[in-house]
Assembly symmetry: C2
Homo-oligomer: 498 residues x 2
């Protein structure tokens, strides 16, 4: 056997072990959020922390890095193998910049911060979380300095979630998006229809068992096969891959009668992506999404462009009407499904407000990283921005600055991917309709197969072989373009409201 | 720090990691039997096999063994630490006798055998399983020769499940038990009551939801706290510990209306033992049961001595009667609960026949190990022995020789622990009644707290600090004594039948 064959099988074997261990770790997390008895938490955390440390050791071993380095310089490595080696090299280079001691310190602070965040949220008291967040912000700045990508300090964090994205590229686009969204909202809010709108059909009684059955139904329709995926309940809906051919999503029933249905469609979008990654890369780095933004584009696509769409409800409304004994017609229902109404909570926001929630967080994160915003001032800053952007008065920290767990996890640079995904989704939907001008007839008849296959072909099957930007360019003829999202919103909502 | 302190913390840290990884491995197994989507099996097996290999490497590392050897000779190691080191030394010595290549080979053959066993059972065709079982028997003989304990070759296998037990000690006791059981069965079967018995109350409709609620109820009553344990469904009921303060049991609803209830009591007995192991040994070898027989004594105790007992049903029958609309009185119900009636299936057997099922398997295992029984002849041998011991005609392999998965797992030497547990349970019950002469009044009022506390105090809290024999001697004033089981059965069943 040639040297490169030996090295290549070492690199593949190591990746496989890392991925298998990560799957086991994911199962532990899934279990923790779904079925685990409460008092098991301590032992479960120790199990997860041990697995993480074994994974980290494997990932940062000199053996792996040296093999990758040698293969990078080997002319015989071609095609997917070459791409894999390049991706791996970049990732390893980055993770090797961060000292082991720092990883342990960060991980310790994260668990403490999450615990404090939970208590703070329960008691609606930011002060409980504040000292932990202060430490985390300091650590994240330190981490960014270890990584040290060119440009803005935030780039080094953002890049972990959205490879290739920078503050320099993103800021002007989001600035423009903010202006456009506020303008559109102004139009909507000054309309007569907006001023007189009120929920009637959705204030009825939506039987929980039937809600659950509809969740199962829509996930199956979208393409989630029961022998490769499952749905459970958890406090917050999420998707996780716990093995090849094994994706778990969760849902939750909240006050809004469409919350479980919508969140199931959303998570099913994530799940479909995971289930359709290229099988020949199931145990290497290329069997992943190239970024969180592109991942989110899949969930937002199904949740919004399909699941809040008129043809979709032409199909589902009669079933909802019968099963929940809704006393009203389709037009009213469709309007209520798409009510534009400011929400204090991001994940309960309508389509038009959603990106403003993200822009708020992005601006705050930049401020924190640049040292222009102090953690102690966060509630004040948050509430003020909420008033400016969303137009709501925040009454307590729990419904305000404490609503998301992400900062407790130390995930700075993560939030923008939600906006990116939302924008990509609109771009994808436009391309899909160009390709299949009659696709809405399919959707209206409950047939989503063309949609799914088009996504498989244009997004899923690439895994991480090509970059997010390249995927979007190939699928939509251009890169990130928030204008497309704005025109999508205008077409839909001005029709409803103006 | 002294050298022994360093070594001791190394040994404890290694044990902790091994135990944490085993818990994660157990969660994967639990998931596989309960919630896992079907097509995830391949990836799940790879995850488990990787965890097992990491565990095995840690367990057989020279670093650990050398530390243990040094500590064994260190005069400063005292008390529990000394016991821990001795137990560990014995275990490591044994596992180090078995070559790595052999472990891998055995593990590979086991997975193939389990797969073949499943197919064979489904098609009721022993021939599909036969070549795999032949290989496994050869491998287990090889394993026994690696271990090479004194006396009968089977001792080397038996000792893994029932430390200290030998063929020499066990055979005469089981021989005598067989004679006594057959004599008792003769008496019962020749009684008028036996000849005219028939199920009336238990042939009604037992609503599954209510069955599930009764399972939850009895497990709670026995002491399974919801924040440390949970109950799910699986094909075969089992108990597994997936973390400290985290024990999972499963049940299943079968044709027999008491199957789920009885199996839940049984598994809850196992679970209580696990939940009450000494906390200061939660991450070392002493936080375990000293043998499977003593473990089984806890499940059999709750299932039989409590759960098939008159006072127990004085408490539960009124609830069963109301909920399942049973048209009949307590006496008839109690008799039906304790119907003596030969079963082809071990785990559906009544108390009187049960140990005969085990004796049959013990005799066959000895024959296989001694080379006196050929695998090819197993169906014939099995059916003949079933006729002699249980008095039933086996019509196909599925209800006969293929009913248990144990041999597919390569678990030879395991079955006797079921009989040992059953016998210990009877001895424990006698001691309990001596200690609390009015205990049956408690049980009749649904109060099991004294029973539970007595078991904690006499069995659970020792963990593996003292041997099974010593535990039984301290609790019952003597070691293993099948006579006690016979007198328990006589007292109970002659009263019912004769």
């Amino acid at each position: 056997m040639k040297e490169e064959d030996n090295l290549l099988s070492l690199v593949k074997e190591q990746q496989k072990e890392i991925i298998l261990l990560s799957y086991s770790d994911s199962l532990l997390s899934w279990d923790q959020e779904t079925y685990m008895p409460e008092k098991a938490i301590e032992s479960k955390s120790e199990q997860m922390s041990l697995l993480s440390s074994i994974i980290h050791k494997k990932l940062t071993s000199n053996e792996l890095f040296n093999a990758v380095k040698k293969l990078r310089n080997n002319q015989n490595i071609k095609g997917d193998d070459k791409i894999m080696i390049e991706r791996l090299y970049k990732d390893l280079l980055k993770s090797r910049k961060i000292p082991n001691d720092f990883v342990r310190e960060l991980s310790k602070e994260q668990s403490l911060a999450v615990k404090a965040w939970k208590e703070a949220k329960e008691k609606s008291n930011f002060k409980i979380f504040q000292p932990h967040l202060e430490k985390l912000v300091k650590l994240k700045i330190k981490e960014a300095n270890y990584i040290k990508l060119p440009g803005h300090i935030y780039n080094s964090l953002l890049d972990s979630y959205e490879e290739g994205m920078t503050v320099e590229k993103l800021t002007p686009k989001l600035e423009k998006l903010k202006v456009d969204l506020l303008e559109l909202l102004n139009k909507i809010k000054s309309s007569e229809k907006y001023k007189t709108q009120n929920l009637r059909l959705m204030s009825g009684n939506f039987n929980h068992q039937i809600q659950k059955e509809f969740c199962d139904d829509v996930s199956l329709k979208i393409g989630l096969e029961k022998d490769r995926a499952r749905i459970d309940f958890s406090e917050h809906p999420f998707t996780t891959k716990t093995g090849f051919n094994d994706v778990r999503i969760t849902t939750n029933i909240r006050k809004k009668p469409l919350f479980s249905f919508g969140s199931t469609i959303h998570e099913s979008g994530h799940a479909l992506y995971e289930l359709n990654m290229p099988e020949n890369h199931k145990y290497d780095i290329l069997g992943n999404a190239p970024s969180l933004g592109i991942h989110e584009s899949q969930s937002r696509f199904w949740e919004n462009m399909i699941g809040l769409n008129e043809p979709f409800w032409r199909y589902y409304f009669p079933k909802f009407k019968d099963n929940f004994k809704i006393n009203g017609g389709f037009e009213e229902w469709y309007k209520e499904v798409n009510f534009v109404s400011p929400s204090k909570i991001r994940i309960e926001s309508d389509e038009v407000h959603y990106c403003l929630h993200i822009i708020l967080r992005f601006e705050i994160e930049l401020g924190l990283m640049e040292g222009k915003i102090k953690v102690a001032d966060l509630p004040k800053v948050w509430n003020q921005k909420m008033k400016e952007l969303i137009g709501v008065e925040i009454k307590n920290d729990s419904e305000g600055v404490l609503q998301d767990i992400h900062w407790g996890w130390g995930n700075f640079g993560y939030f923008p991917t939600y906006a990116l995904g939302t924008i990509y989704a609109a771009q994808l939907y436009e391309s899909l309709k160009e390709k299949f001008p009659k696709i809405e007839q399919d959707i209206e008849s409950g047939d989503f197969s063309k949609v799914r296959l088009w996504l498989n072909e244009n997004i899923h099957k690439h895994g991480r072989k090509i970059s997010t930007e390249e995927i979007i360019k190939r699928a939509c003829g251009e890169g990130l373009n928030p204008e497309k999202y704005i025109s999508y919103l205008k077409e839909k909502y001005l029709k409803i409201y103006v």
